[in-house]
Symmetry: C2
Subunit: 324 residues, 2 copies
Protein backbone atom coordinates (compact mmCIF):
# COMPACT_ATOMS: atom_id res chain seq x y z
CA UNK A 1 0.00 0.00 0.00
CA UNK A 2 1.23 3.47 -0.88
CA UNK A 3 1.21 5.36 2.43
CA UNK A 4 1.04 9.11 2.95
CA UNK A 5 4.39 8.90 4.71
CA UNK A 6 5.91 7.41 1.58
CA UNK A 7 4.26 10.01 -0.67
CA UNK A 8 5.66 12.76 1.56
CA UNK A 9 9.06 11.14 1.39
CA UNK A 10 9.24 11.06 -2.41
CA UNK A 11 7.78 14.57 -2.58
CA UNK A 12 10.64 15.72 -0.36
CA UNK A 13 13.16 13.90 -2.53
CA UNK A 14 11.65 15.47 -5.66
CA UNK A 15 11.84 18.92 -4.08
CA UNK A 16 15.43 18.32 -3.09
CA UNK A 17 16.43 17.36 -6.64
CA UNK A 18 14.45 20.30 -8.06
CA UNK A 19 16.25 22.71 -5.72
CA UNK A 20 19.62 21.25 -6.68
CA UNK A 21 18.80 21.53 -10.37
CA UNK A 22 17.46 25.09 -10.03
CA UNK A 23 20.55 26.22 -8.14
CA UNK A 24 23.04 24.19 -10.13
CA UNK A 25 26.34 26.10 -10.35
CA UNK A 26 26.82 27.10 -14.00
CA UNK A 27 28.86 29.81 -15.67
CA UNK A 28 26.77 32.68 -17.03
CA UNK A 29 28.71 32.78 -20.32
CA UNK A 30 28.36 31.76 -23.09
CA UNK A 31 24.64 32.45 -22.84
CA UNK A 32 24.07 30.55 -26.09
CA UNK A 33 24.54 27.29 -24.18
CA UNK A 34 23.91 28.16 -20.51
CA UNK A 35 20.55 29.94 -20.95
CA UNK A 36 18.90 26.84 -22.49
CA UNK A 37 20.69 24.53 -20.03
CA UNK A 38 19.24 26.54 -17.12
CA UNK A 39 15.84 26.40 -18.82
CA UNK A 40 16.08 22.61 -19.12
CA UNK A 41 17.16 22.28 -15.48
CA UNK A 42 14.20 24.40 -14.35
CA UNK A 43 11.76 22.12 -16.21
CA UNK A 44 9.24 20.04 -14.38
CA UNK A 45 9.65 16.31 -14.28
CA UNK A 46 8.68 13.34 -12.17
CA UNK A 47 12.34 12.88 -11.11
CA UNK A 48 11.55 9.17 -11.11
CA UNK A 49 15.11 8.21 -12.10
CA UNK A 50 16.98 9.98 -9.27
CA UNK A 51 14.29 8.78 -6.84
CA UNK A 52 15.01 5.16 -7.85
CA UNK A 53 18.78 5.67 -7.43
CA UNK A 54 18.10 7.21 -4.03
CA UNK A 55 15.68 4.57 -2.71
CA UNK A 56 17.81 1.62 -3.80
CA UNK A 57 21.06 3.25 -2.70
CA UNK A 58 19.51 4.04 0.67
CA UNK A 59 18.39 0.41 1.04
CA UNK A 60 22.10 -0.49 0.80
CA UNK A 61 23.33 2.39 2.98
CA UNK A 62 25.07 4.25 0.16
CA UNK A 63 26.74 7.60 0.88
CA UNK A 64 24.17 10.44 0.63
CA UNK A 65 26.51 12.77 -1.27
CA UNK A 66 27.01 10.01 -3.84
CA UNK A 67 23.26 9.54 -4.15
CA UNK A 68 22.84 13.26 -4.79
CA UNK A 69 25.52 13.44 -7.48
CA UNK A 70 24.37 10.20 -9.09
CA UNK A 71 20.73 11.30 -8.94
CA UNK A 72 21.51 14.59 -10.68
CA UNK A 73 23.64 12.73 -13.24
CA UNK A 74 20.85 10.32 -14.25
CA UNK A 75 18.25 13.11 -14.39
CA UNK A 76 20.53 15.20 -16.63
CA UNK A 77 21.27 12.16 -18.79
CA UNK A 78 17.51 11.70 -19.14
CA UNK A 79 17.06 15.38 -20.00
CA UNK A 80 19.82 15.21 -22.61
CA UNK A 81 17.96 12.38 -24.37
CA UNK A 82 14.64 14.26 -24.16
CA UNK A 83 16.06 17.47 -25.66
CA UNK A 84 17.56 15.60 -28.62
CA UNK A 85 14.53 13.29 -29.04
CA UNK A 86 12.24 16.32 -29.11
CA UNK A 87 14.20 17.71 -32.07
CA UNK A 88 14.11 14.37 -33.89
CA UNK A 89 10.41 13.92 -33.21
CA UNK A 90 9.56 17.60 -33.75
CA UNK A 91 7.74 17.74 -30.41
CA UNK A 92 7.00 21.31 -29.39
CA UNK A 93 5.79 20.85 -25.80
CA UNK A 94 7.48 19.01 -22.92
CA UNK A 95 6.26 19.11 -19.30
CA UNK A 96 3.92 21.97 -20.24
CA UNK A 97 6.71 24.19 -21.60
CA UNK A 98 8.04 24.90 -25.09
CA UNK A 99 10.80 22.47 -26.04
CA UNK A 100 14.31 23.96 -26.45
CA UNK A 101 14.37 23.78 -30.26
CA UNK A 102 10.96 25.51 -30.32
CA UNK A 103 11.86 28.28 -27.85
CA UNK A 104 15.33 28.78 -29.42
CA UNK A 105 16.29 26.75 -32.47
CA UNK A 106 17.66 23.32 -33.40
CA UNK A 107 21.33 24.29 -33.19
CA UNK A 108 20.82 25.62 -29.68
CA UNK A 109 18.99 22.46 -28.66
CA UNK A 110 21.66 20.14 -30.11
CA UNK A 111 24.42 22.00 -28.28
CA UNK A 112 22.52 22.43 -25.00
CA UNK A 113 21.80 18.68 -25.03
CA UNK A 114 25.48 17.90 -25.60
CA UNK A 115 26.46 20.26 -22.78
CA UNK A 116 23.97 18.72 -20.35
CA UNK A 117 25.32 15.27 -21.15
CA UNK A 118 28.90 16.44 -20.46
CA UNK A 119 27.76 17.91 -17.13
CA UNK A 120 26.02 14.62 -16.28
CA UNK A 121 29.28 12.78 -17.01
CA UNK A 122 31.25 15.12 -14.77
CA UNK A 123 28.76 14.48 -11.94
CA UNK A 124 28.84 10.70 -12.21
CA UNK A 125 32.66 10.74 -12.13
CA UNK A 126 32.43 12.36 -8.69
CA UNK A 127 30.91 9.43 -6.80
CA UNK A 128 33.21 8.02 -4.12
CA UNK A 129 32.19 4.33 -4.23
CA UNK A 130 32.94 2.28 -7.40
CA UNK A 131 33.17 5.37 -9.63
CA UNK A 132 34.61 3.52 -12.65
CA UNK A 133 31.95 0.86 -12.52
CA UNK A 134 29.31 3.60 -12.26
CA UNK A 135 30.74 5.56 -15.20
CA UNK A 136 31.04 2.46 -17.37
CA UNK A 137 27.43 1.41 -16.70
CA UNK A 138 26.31 5.01 -17.26
CA UNK A 139 27.75 5.07 -20.77
CA UNK A 140 26.60 1.59 -21.67
CA UNK A 141 23.08 2.69 -20.70
CA UNK A 142 23.42 5.84 -22.80
CA UNK A 143 24.41 3.82 -25.86
CA UNK A 144 21.42 1.50 -25.35
CA UNK A 145 19.10 4.50 -25.02
CA UNK A 146 20.50 5.80 -28.33
CA UNK A 147 19.89 2.37 -29.89
CA UNK A 148 16.33 2.43 -28.56
CA UNK A 149 15.74 5.85 -30.08
CA UNK A 150 17.24 4.53 -33.34
CA UNK A 151 14.69 1.68 -33.40
CA UNK A 152 11.96 4.19 -32.59
CA UNK A 153 12.93 6.28 -35.65
CA UNK A 154 13.49 3.18 -37.84
CA UNK A 155 10.05 1.84 -36.97
CA UNK A 156 8.19 5.07 -37.78
CA UNK A 157 5.40 4.41 -40.32
CA UNK A 158 6.53 0.79 -40.53
CA UNK A 159 3.36 -1.30 -40.37
CA UNK A 160 5.32 -4.55 -40.24
CA UNK A 161 6.62 -4.01 -36.69
CA UNK A 162 5.45 -6.78 -34.35
CA UNK A 163 5.22 -6.93 -30.56
CA UNK A 164 8.71 -8.43 -30.03
CA UNK A 165 10.32 -5.61 -31.99
CA UNK A 166 8.27 -3.05 -30.08
CA UNK A 167 9.43 -4.67 -26.84
CA UNK A 168 13.09 -4.58 -27.92
CA UNK A 169 12.68 -0.89 -28.73
CA UNK A 170 11.11 0.18 -25.42
CA UNK A 171 13.46 -2.04 -23.43
CA UNK A 172 16.39 -0.05 -24.81
CA UNK A 173 14.72 3.34 -25.13
CA UNK A 174 13.08 3.50 -21.70
CA UNK A 175 13.86 0.29 -19.85
CA UNK A 176 17.64 0.46 -19.83
CA UNK A 177 17.94 3.88 -18.29
CA UNK A 178 15.56 2.97 -15.46
CA UNK A 179 17.36 -0.38 -15.19
CA UNK A 180 20.64 1.48 -14.91
CA UNK A 181 19.23 3.73 -12.15
CA UNK A 182 18.38 0.67 -10.08
CA UNK A 183 21.77 -0.87 -10.86
CA UNK A 184 23.49 2.37 -9.85
CA UNK A 185 21.86 2.27 -6.41
CA UNK A 186 23.46 -1.16 -5.94
CA UNK A 187 26.85 -0.03 -7.33
CA UNK A 188 26.91 2.90 -4.89
CA UNK A 189 25.83 0.57 -2.10
CA UNK A 190 28.86 -1.60 -3.00
CA UNK A 191 26.81 -4.72 -3.75
CA UNK A 192 28.09 -7.83 -5.59
CA UNK A 193 27.25 -8.40 -9.25
CA UNK A 194 24.49 -10.96 -8.67
CA UNK A 195 22.55 -8.40 -6.64
CA UNK A 196 23.32 -5.59 -9.08
CA UNK A 197 22.04 -7.73 -11.98
CA UNK A 198 18.76 -8.41 -10.20
CA UNK A 199 18.37 -4.72 -9.37
CA UNK A 200 18.89 -3.91 -13.05
CA UNK A 201 16.17 -6.43 -13.93
CA UNK A 202 13.89 -4.66 -11.48
CA UNK A 203 14.45 -1.34 -13.26
CA UNK A 204 14.11 -2.93 -16.69
CA UNK A 205 10.76 -4.49 -15.82
CA UNK A 206 9.56 -1.30 -14.16
CA UNK A 207 10.75 0.73 -17.17
CA UNK A 208 8.95 -1.49 -19.68
CA UNK A 209 5.72 -1.22 -17.67
CA UNK A 210 6.27 2.54 -17.41
CA UNK A 211 6.61 2.96 -21.19
CA UNK A 212 3.54 0.83 -21.92
CA UNK A 213 1.58 3.01 -19.50
CA UNK A 214 2.95 6.13 -21.20
CA UNK A 215 1.77 4.81 -24.56
CA UNK A 216 -1.69 4.33 -23.06
CA UNK A 217 -1.72 7.84 -21.51
CA UNK A 218 -0.82 9.23 -24.92
CA UNK A 219 -4.33 8.23 -26.06
CA UNK A 220 -6.32 7.97 -22.84
CA UNK A 221 -4.65 10.59 -20.64
CA UNK A 222 -5.72 14.05 -19.58
CA UNK A 223 -3.91 16.56 -21.83
CA UNK A 224 -3.60 19.09 -18.98
CA UNK A 225 -1.92 16.78 -16.51
CA UNK A 226 0.23 15.23 -19.28
CA UNK A 227 1.73 18.63 -20.11
CA UNK A 228 1.67 17.77 -23.81
CA UNK A 229 -0.82 17.26 -26.59
CA UNK A 230 -2.21 13.76 -26.91
CA UNK A 231 -1.90 11.59 -29.99
CA UNK A 232 1.33 13.17 -31.25
CA UNK A 233 3.14 9.83 -31.29
CA UNK A 234 0.43 8.28 -33.43
CA UNK A 235 0.44 11.24 -35.81
CA UNK A 236 4.22 10.84 -36.12
CA UNK A 237 3.67 7.20 -37.12
CA UNK A 238 5.27 5.88 -33.92
CA UNK A 239 4.87 2.29 -32.84
CA UNK A 240 3.01 2.15 -29.52
CA UNK A 241 1.68 -0.77 -27.52
CA UNK A 242 -1.85 0.03 -28.71
CA UNK A 243 -1.10 0.22 -32.43
CA UNK A 244 1.12 -2.87 -32.38
CA UNK A 245 -1.51 -4.93 -30.55
CA UNK A 246 -4.29 -3.55 -32.74
CA UNK A 247 -2.44 -4.59 -35.89
CA UNK A 248 -1.66 -8.00 -34.44
CA UNK A 249 -5.26 -8.45 -33.34
CA UNK A 250 -6.89 -7.58 -36.67
CA UNK A 251 -4.67 -5.90 -39.22
CA UNK A 252 -7.30 -5.03 -41.81
CA UNK A 253 -9.82 -3.65 -39.31
CA UNK A 254 -7.10 -1.56 -37.73
CA UNK A 255 -5.96 -0.26 -41.13
CA UNK A 256 -9.52 0.82 -41.92
CA UNK A 257 -9.82 2.52 -38.54
CA UNK A 258 -6.48 4.22 -39.02
CA UNK A 259 -7.29 5.47 -42.54
CA UNK A 260 -10.58 6.84 -41.25
CA UNK A 261 -9.24 8.71 -38.19
CA UNK A 262 -6.33 10.07 -40.22
CA UNK A 263 -8.79 12.32 -42.07
CA UNK A 264 -10.21 13.79 -38.84
CA UNK A 265 -9.38 16.48 -36.33
CA UNK A 266 -7.31 15.18 -33.44
CA UNK A 267 -10.06 15.51 -30.77
CA UNK A 268 -12.54 13.50 -32.79
CA UNK A 269 -9.85 11.02 -33.80
CA UNK A 270 -8.97 10.44 -30.14
CA UNK A 271 -12.59 9.66 -29.24
CA UNK A 272 -12.83 7.10 -32.03
CA UNK A 273 -9.47 5.56 -31.21
CA UNK A 274 -10.35 5.24 -27.53
CA UNK A 275 -13.58 3.56 -28.46
CA UNK A 276 -11.75 1.18 -30.82
CA UNK A 277 -9.10 0.19 -28.31
CA UNK A 278 -11.72 -0.33 -25.60
CA UNK A 279 -14.26 -2.35 -27.55
CA UNK A 280 -11.65 -4.63 -29.15
CA UNK A 281 -10.14 -5.41 -25.73
CA UNK A 282 -6.78 -3.99 -26.81
CA UNK A 283 -6.68 -1.47 -23.98
CA UNK A 284 -7.21 -4.27 -21.46
CA UNK A 285 -4.55 -6.42 -23.11
CA UNK A 286 -2.03 -3.57 -22.98
CA UNK A 287 -2.80 -2.93 -19.33
CA UNK A 288 -2.38 -6.60 -18.55
CA UNK A 289 1.06 -6.66 -20.15
CA UNK A 290 2.10 -3.61 -18.13
CA UNK A 291 0.73 -5.27 -15.00
CA UNK A 292 2.74 -8.43 -15.66
CA UNK A 293 5.94 -6.42 -15.96
CA UNK A 294 5.06 -4.52 -12.79
CA UNK A 295 4.55 -7.79 -10.95
CA UNK A 296 7.86 -9.11 -12.26
CA UNK A 297 9.50 -5.92 -10.98
CA UNK A 298 7.93 -6.46 -7.55
CA UNK A 299 9.38 -9.99 -7.51
CA UNK A 300 12.87 -8.70 -8.40
CA UNK A 301 12.71 -6.58 -5.26
CA UNK A 302 12.92 -9.73 -3.14
CA UNK A 303 16.69 -9.52 -3.60
CA UNK A 304 16.65 -6.56 -1.20
CA UNK A 305 16.56 -7.51 2.51
CA UNK A 306 12.94 -7.44 3.69
CA UNK A 307 13.40 -4.64 6.21
CA UNK A 308 14.81 -2.31 3.57
CA UNK A 309 12.49 -2.76 0.62
CA UNK A 310 9.19 -1.24 1.78
CA UNK A 311 9.86 2.07 0.01
CA UNK A 312 10.66 0.33 -3.25
CA UNK A 313 7.56 -1.83 -3.11
CA UNK A 314 5.53 1.31 -2.59
CA UNK A 315 7.35 3.10 -5.41
CA UNK A 316 6.54 0.24 -7.78
CA UNK A 317 2.88 0.40 -6.80
CA UNK A 318 2.94 4.20 -7.04
CA UNK A 319 4.29 4.04 -10.62
CA UNK A 320 1.66 1.44 -11.51
CA UNK A 321 -1.21 3.56 -10.12
CA UNK A 322 -0.07 6.90 -11.53
CA UNK A 323 -2.49 8.87 -13.68
CA UNK A 324 0.13 10.66 -15.81
Amino acid sequence: MVTDTFLNHIEELRNKFNRQLNNFPLDSEPKYIYDPIRYIMAGKGKRLRPIIVNLIGTAYKANSEDLLNAGLAVELLHNFTLVHDDIMDQDSIRHGKATVHTKWDESTAILAGDGIYAIAQILITKVSVNPLKAVHAFNKATLYVCEGQAYDKEFEHNTKVVFDQYLKMIKKKTGWLIGFCAELGGILGNQPDEIINELRSYGLNLGIAFQIQDDIFEIFGNPKSMGKSLGSDLIAGKQTILTVLARQNNASNWQKMWDSVNQKEIDEALIELRNYFETTGILEEAKLIAQNYTEAAQKNLNIIPKDNRAHLEQLTEYVWKRKK
Copy 2:
Protein backbone atom coordinates in the same frame (compact mmCIF):
# COMPACT_ATOMS: atom_id res chain seq x y z
CA MET B 1 63.67 19.42 -38.77
CA VAL B 2 60.89 17.10 -39.84
CA THR B 3 62.66 13.90 -40.92
CA ASP B 4 61.37 11.22 -43.28
CA THR B 5 61.67 8.74 -40.42
CA PHE B 6 59.27 10.87 -38.40
CA LEU B 7 56.87 11.28 -41.32
CA ASN B 8 56.84 7.51 -41.79
CA HIS B 9 56.22 7.07 -38.08
CA ILE B 10 53.14 9.30 -37.98
CA GLU B 11 51.89 7.80 -41.25
CA GLU B 12 52.09 4.38 -39.59
CA LEU B 13 50.26 5.69 -36.53
CA ARG B 14 47.58 7.23 -38.76
CA ASN B 15 47.15 3.96 -40.63
CA LYS B 16 46.90 2.07 -37.35
CA PHE B 17 44.13 4.35 -36.06
CA ASN B 18 42.36 4.20 -39.43
CA ARG B 19 42.45 0.40 -39.38
CA GLN B 20 41.12 0.34 -35.83
CA LEU B 21 38.31 2.74 -36.72
CA ASN B 22 37.42 0.86 -39.91
CA ASN B 23 37.26 -2.45 -38.06
CA PHE B 24 35.69 -1.12 -34.88
CA PRO B 25 33.39 -3.79 -33.41
CA LEU B 26 29.84 -2.49 -33.69
CA ASP B 27 26.47 -4.22 -33.71
CA SER B 28 24.81 -4.32 -37.11
CA GLU B 29 21.41 -3.31 -35.69
CA PRO B 30 19.79 -0.82 -35.43
CA LYS B 31 21.03 0.32 -38.82
CA TYR B 32 19.54 3.78 -38.21
CA ILE B 33 22.41 4.54 -35.83
CA TYR B 34 25.19 2.08 -36.78
CA ASP B 35 25.25 2.75 -40.54
CA PRO B 36 26.07 6.45 -40.06
CA ILE B 37 28.47 5.67 -37.19
CA ARG B 38 30.39 3.30 -39.49
CA TYR B 39 30.35 6.00 -42.19
CA ILE B 40 31.82 8.53 -39.72
CA MET B 41 34.48 6.06 -38.56
CA ALA B 42 35.50 5.41 -42.19
CA GLY B 43 35.95 9.14 -42.81
CA LYS B 44 39.34 10.60 -43.58
CA GLY B 45 40.99 12.77 -41.00
CA LYS B 46 44.45 13.89 -39.98
CA ARG B 47 44.17 11.84 -36.76
CA LEU B 48 46.20 14.62 -35.17
CA ARG B 49 44.56 14.17 -31.78
CA PRO B 50 45.29 10.45 -31.28
CA ILE B 51 48.80 11.04 -32.66
CA ILE B 52 49.41 13.66 -29.94
CA VAL B 53 48.13 11.32 -27.22
CA ASN B 54 50.39 8.60 -28.61
CA LEU B 55 53.58 10.66 -28.95
CA ILE B 56 53.30 12.24 -25.50
CA GLY B 57 52.22 9.00 -23.84
CA THR B 58 55.13 7.20 -25.49
CA ALA B 59 57.55 9.86 -24.21
CA TYR B 60 56.38 8.86 -20.71
CA LYS B 61 56.34 5.10 -21.39
CA ALA B 62 52.57 4.75 -21.15
CA ASN B 63 50.95 1.37 -21.81
CA SER B 64 50.37 0.85 -25.56
CA GLU B 65 46.87 -0.62 -25.12
CA ASP B 66 45.92 2.49 -23.11
CA LEU B 67 47.29 4.73 -25.86
CA LEU B 68 45.21 2.89 -28.42
CA ASN B 69 41.95 3.12 -26.43
CA ALA B 70 42.60 6.73 -25.46
CA GLY B 71 43.55 7.64 -29.04
CA LEU B 72 40.34 6.17 -30.41
CA ALA B 73 38.36 7.90 -27.65
CA VAL B 74 39.71 11.38 -28.47
CA GLU B 75 39.26 10.85 -32.21
CA LEU B 76 35.64 9.77 -31.68
CA LEU B 77 35.04 12.69 -29.31
CA HIS B 78 36.38 14.96 -32.05
CA ASN B 79 34.12 13.29 -34.63
CA PHE B 80 31.08 13.68 -32.37
CA THR B 81 31.68 17.43 -32.20
CA LEU B 82 32.21 17.64 -35.98
CA VAL B 83 28.98 15.79 -36.80
CA HIS B 84 26.92 18.06 -34.53
CA ASP B 85 28.78 21.24 -35.58
CA ASP B 86 28.16 20.38 -39.24
CA ILE B 87 24.42 20.33 -38.56
CA MET B 88 24.55 23.63 -36.67
CA ASP B 89 26.67 25.27 -39.36
CA GLN B 90 24.83 23.59 -42.24
CA ASP B 91 28.10 22.36 -43.72
CA SER B 92 27.53 19.77 -46.44
CA ILE B 93 31.09 18.50 -47.06
CA ARG B 94 33.63 17.19 -44.54
CA HIS B 95 36.93 15.53 -45.48
CA GLY B 96 35.70 15.36 -49.07
CA LYS B 97 32.53 13.41 -48.21
CA ALA B 98 28.90 14.40 -47.65
CA THR B 99 28.25 15.24 -43.99
CA VAL B 100 25.94 12.87 -42.10
CA HIS B 101 22.95 15.22 -42.02
CA THR B 102 23.34 15.73 -45.79
CA LYS B 103 23.70 12.03 -46.65
CA TRP B 104 20.91 11.02 -44.24
CA ASP B 105 19.06 13.72 -42.30
CA GLU B 106 19.42 15.85 -39.16
CA SER B 107 17.78 13.36 -36.80
CA THR B 108 20.16 10.65 -37.94
CA ALA B 109 23.15 12.96 -37.49
CA ILE B 110 22.09 14.07 -34.00
CA LEU B 111 21.66 10.47 -32.85
CA ALA B 112 24.80 9.13 -34.57
CA GLY B 113 26.79 11.93 -32.90
CA ASP B 114 25.34 11.04 -29.51
CA GLY B 115 26.13 7.36 -30.07
CA ILE B 116 29.73 8.09 -31.10
CA TYR B 117 30.18 10.18 -27.96
CA ALA B 118 28.88 7.32 -25.78
CA ILE B 119 31.29 4.91 -27.52
CA ALA B 120 34.16 7.37 -26.92
CA GLN B 121 33.23 7.46 -23.23
CA ILE B 122 33.19 3.68 -23.00
CA LEU B 123 36.69 3.57 -24.55
CA ILE B 124 38.21 6.18 -22.24
CA THR B 125 36.86 4.30 -19.20
CA LYS B 126 38.94 1.30 -20.27
CA VAL B 127 42.40 2.80 -19.70
CA SER B 128 44.35 1.03 -16.96
CA VAL B 129 46.36 3.98 -15.57
CA ASN B 130 44.51 6.85 -13.82
CA PRO B 131 41.19 6.07 -15.53
CA LEU B 132 39.10 8.39 -13.34
CA LYS B 133 41.45 11.31 -13.88
CA ALA B 134 41.33 10.60 -17.63
CA VAL B 135 37.52 10.41 -17.70
CA HIS B 136 37.13 13.58 -15.66
CA ALA B 137 39.51 15.55 -17.91
CA PHE B 138 37.78 14.06 -20.98
CA ASN B 139 34.41 15.45 -19.92
CA LYS B 140 35.74 18.80 -18.79
CA ALA B 141 37.32 19.14 -22.24
CA THR B 142 34.01 18.18 -23.89
CA LEU B 143 32.14 20.85 -21.95
CA TYR B 144 34.75 23.46 -22.96
CA VAL B 145 34.46 22.41 -26.60
CA CYS B 146 30.67 22.88 -26.33
CA GLU B 147 31.27 26.33 -24.78
CA GLY B 148 33.62 27.17 -27.65
CA GLN B 149 31.01 26.13 -30.20
CA ALA B 150 28.46 28.24 -28.29
CA TYR B 151 30.70 31.33 -28.62
CA ASP B 152 31.17 30.49 -32.28
CA LYS B 153 27.38 30.52 -32.81
CA GLU B 154 26.87 33.55 -30.57
CA PHE B 155 29.48 35.54 -32.49
CA GLU B 156 28.00 34.78 -35.94
CA HIS B 157 27.29 38.03 -37.84
CA ASN B 158 28.40 39.99 -34.77
CA THR B 159 30.67 42.74 -36.06
CA LYS B 160 31.58 43.85 -32.53
CA VAL B 161 33.69 40.77 -31.74
CA VAL B 162 37.31 41.73 -31.00
CA PHE B 163 40.51 39.68 -31.02
CA ASP B 164 40.35 38.71 -27.32
CA GLN B 165 36.86 37.29 -27.75
CA TYR B 166 37.94 35.44 -30.88
CA LEU B 167 40.87 34.02 -28.92
CA LYS B 168 38.61 32.89 -26.06
CA MET B 169 36.39 31.15 -28.61
CA ILE B 170 39.12 29.22 -30.44
CA LYS B 171 40.88 28.39 -27.19
CA LYS B 172 37.76 26.53 -26.07
CA LYS B 173 36.54 25.28 -29.44
CA THR B 174 39.83 23.90 -30.77
CA GLY B 175 42.53 24.52 -28.18
CA TRP B 176 41.05 22.64 -25.25
CA LEU B 177 40.57 19.34 -27.03
CA ILE B 178 44.15 19.36 -28.33
CA GLY B 179 45.28 20.54 -24.89
CA PHE B 180 43.41 17.62 -23.38
CA CYS B 181 45.09 15.16 -25.80
CA ALA B 182 48.51 16.34 -24.60
CA GLU B 183 47.34 16.21 -20.97
CA LEU B 184 46.00 12.70 -21.52
CA GLY B 185 49.42 11.48 -22.69
CA GLY B 186 50.79 12.69 -19.34
CA ILE B 187 47.92 11.18 -17.34
CA LEU B 188 48.47 7.78 -18.99
CA GLY B 189 52.22 8.15 -18.39
CA ASN B 190 51.38 8.67 -14.71
CA GLN B 191 53.00 12.11 -14.51
CA PRO B 192 52.52 14.62 -11.63
CA ASP B 193 50.16 17.59 -12.04
CA GLU B 194 52.85 20.20 -12.72
CA ILE B 195 53.97 18.24 -15.77
CA ILE B 196 50.42 17.50 -16.88
CA ASN B 197 49.57 21.22 -16.70
CA GLU B 198 52.54 22.13 -18.87
CA LEU B 199 51.61 19.42 -21.38
CA ARG B 200 48.08 20.84 -21.52
CA SER B 201 49.56 24.29 -22.21
CA TYR B 202 51.54 22.74 -25.05
CA GLY B 203 48.36 21.38 -26.62
CA LEU B 204 46.47 24.63 -26.01
CA ASN B 205 49.14 26.69 -27.74
CA LEU B 206 49.41 24.20 -30.59
CA GLY B 207 45.61 24.10 -30.90
CA ILE B 208 45.31 27.89 -31.07
CA ALA B 209 47.98 28.04 -33.78
CA PHE B 210 46.22 25.17 -35.58
CA GLN B 211 42.86 26.99 -35.62
CA ILE B 212 44.41 30.27 -36.83
CA GLN B 213 46.05 28.31 -39.66
CA ASP B 214 42.72 26.66 -40.45
CA ASP B 215 41.08 30.08 -40.67
CA ILE B 216 43.79 31.11 -43.14
CA PHE B 217 43.39 27.92 -45.22
CA GLU B 218 39.67 28.64 -45.39
CA ILE B 219 40.54 31.62 -47.64
CA PHE B 220 43.98 30.80 -49.02
CA GLY B 221 43.89 26.99 -49.16
CA ASN B 222 43.51 24.61 -52.05
CA PRO B 223 39.84 23.49 -52.15
CA LYS B 224 40.82 19.99 -53.35
CA SER B 225 43.28 19.23 -50.58
CA MET B 226 40.99 20.90 -47.98
CA GLY B 227 38.18 18.45 -48.86
CA LYS B 228 35.64 21.25 -48.49
CA SER B 229 34.55 24.41 -50.23
CA LEU B 230 36.45 27.52 -49.23
CA GLY B 231 34.91 30.63 -47.75
CA SER B 232 31.96 28.86 -46.14
CA ASP B 233 32.83 30.20 -42.68
CA LEU B 234 32.83 33.75 -43.97
CA ILE B 235 29.52 33.23 -45.79
CA ALA B 236 28.07 31.90 -42.52
CA GLY B 237 29.16 35.12 -40.80
CA LYS B 238 31.77 33.32 -38.67
CA GLN B 239 34.49 35.21 -36.85
CA THR B 240 37.89 34.17 -38.18
CA ILE B 241 41.37 35.50 -37.47
CA LEU B 242 41.33 37.35 -40.80
CA THR B 243 37.99 39.09 -40.38
CA VAL B 244 38.66 40.03 -36.76
CA LEU B 245 42.07 41.51 -37.60
CA ALA B 246 40.70 43.24 -40.71
CA ARG B 247 37.98 44.91 -38.66
CA GLN B 248 40.46 45.91 -35.98
CA ASN B 249 42.88 47.24 -38.58
CA ASN B 250 40.39 49.42 -40.47
CA ALA B 251 36.73 48.82 -39.73
CA SER B 252 35.22 51.03 -42.41
CA ASN B 253 37.51 49.80 -45.21
CA TRP B 254 36.78 46.22 -44.22
CA GLN B 255 33.03 46.87 -44.15
CA LYS B 256 33.19 48.31 -47.68
CA MET B 257 35.21 45.31 -48.85
CA TRP B 258 32.79 42.94 -47.19
CA ASP B 259 29.69 44.62 -48.67
CA SER B 260 31.31 44.48 -52.09
CA VAL B 261 32.36 40.80 -52.07
CA ASN B 262 29.04 39.78 -50.59
CA GLN B 263 27.42 40.56 -53.94
CA LYS B 264 29.83 38.37 -55.89
CA GLU B 265 30.27 34.72 -56.79
CA ILE B 266 32.45 32.86 -54.29
CA ASP B 267 35.44 32.37 -56.64
CA GLU B 268 35.67 36.04 -57.47
CA ALA B 269 35.05 37.00 -53.86
CA LEU B 270 37.94 34.78 -52.73
CA ILE B 271 40.35 36.45 -55.16
CA GLU B 272 39.40 39.89 -53.87
CA LEU B 273 39.55 38.81 -50.24
CA ARG B 274 42.98 37.24 -50.69
CA ASN B 275 44.20 40.41 -52.31
CA TYR B 276 42.75 42.51 -49.47
CA PHE B 277 44.26 40.41 -46.68
CA GLU B 278 47.64 40.36 -48.42
CA THR B 279 47.96 44.05 -49.32
CA THR B 280 46.78 45.25 -45.90
CA GLY B 281 49.33 43.00 -44.15
CA ILE B 282 46.55 41.14 -42.33
CA LEU B 283 47.61 37.76 -43.68
CA GLU B 284 51.15 38.34 -42.39
CA GLU B 285 49.84 39.49 -39.02
CA ALA B 286 47.67 36.37 -38.68
CA LYS B 287 50.60 34.13 -39.63
CA LEU B 288 52.79 35.87 -37.08
CA ILE B 289 50.26 35.25 -34.31
CA ALA B 290 50.07 31.56 -35.26
CA GLN B 291 53.87 31.43 -35.30
CA ASN B 292 54.07 32.94 -31.82
CA TYR B 293 51.71 30.28 -30.46
CA THR B 294 53.69 27.57 -32.23
CA GLU B 295 56.89 28.85 -30.65
CA ALA B 296 55.22 28.95 -27.24
CA ALA B 297 54.16 25.33 -27.81
CA GLN B 298 57.75 24.38 -28.67
CA LYS B 299 58.90 25.97 -25.39
CA ASN B 300 56.29 24.03 -23.39
CA LEU B 301 57.88 20.84 -24.72
CA ASN B 302 60.97 21.53 -22.62
CA ILE B 303 59.09 19.91 -19.74
CA ILE B 304 59.66 16.55 -21.48
CA PRO B 305 63.13 15.01 -20.92
CA LYS B 306 65.39 15.99 -23.83
CA ASP B 307 65.91 12.45 -25.09
CA ASN B 308 62.18 11.83 -25.43
CA ARG B 309 60.89 14.97 -27.08
CA ALA B 310 62.32 14.82 -30.61
CA HIS B 311 59.10 13.41 -32.07
CA LEU B 312 56.99 16.11 -30.47
CA GLU B 313 59.27 18.89 -31.64
CA GLN B 314 58.96 17.49 -35.14
CA LEU B 315 55.18 17.15 -34.81
CA THR B 316 54.91 20.81 -33.79
CA GLU B 317 56.98 21.84 -36.79
CA TYR B 318 54.98 19.48 -39.04
CA VAL B 319 51.70 21.09 -37.93
CA TRP B 320 53.17 24.54 -38.49
CA LYS B 321 54.34 23.68 -42.01
CA ARG B 322 51.23 21.82 -43.14
CA LYS B 323 49.47 22.96 -46.29
CA LYS B 324 45.98 21.85 -45.30
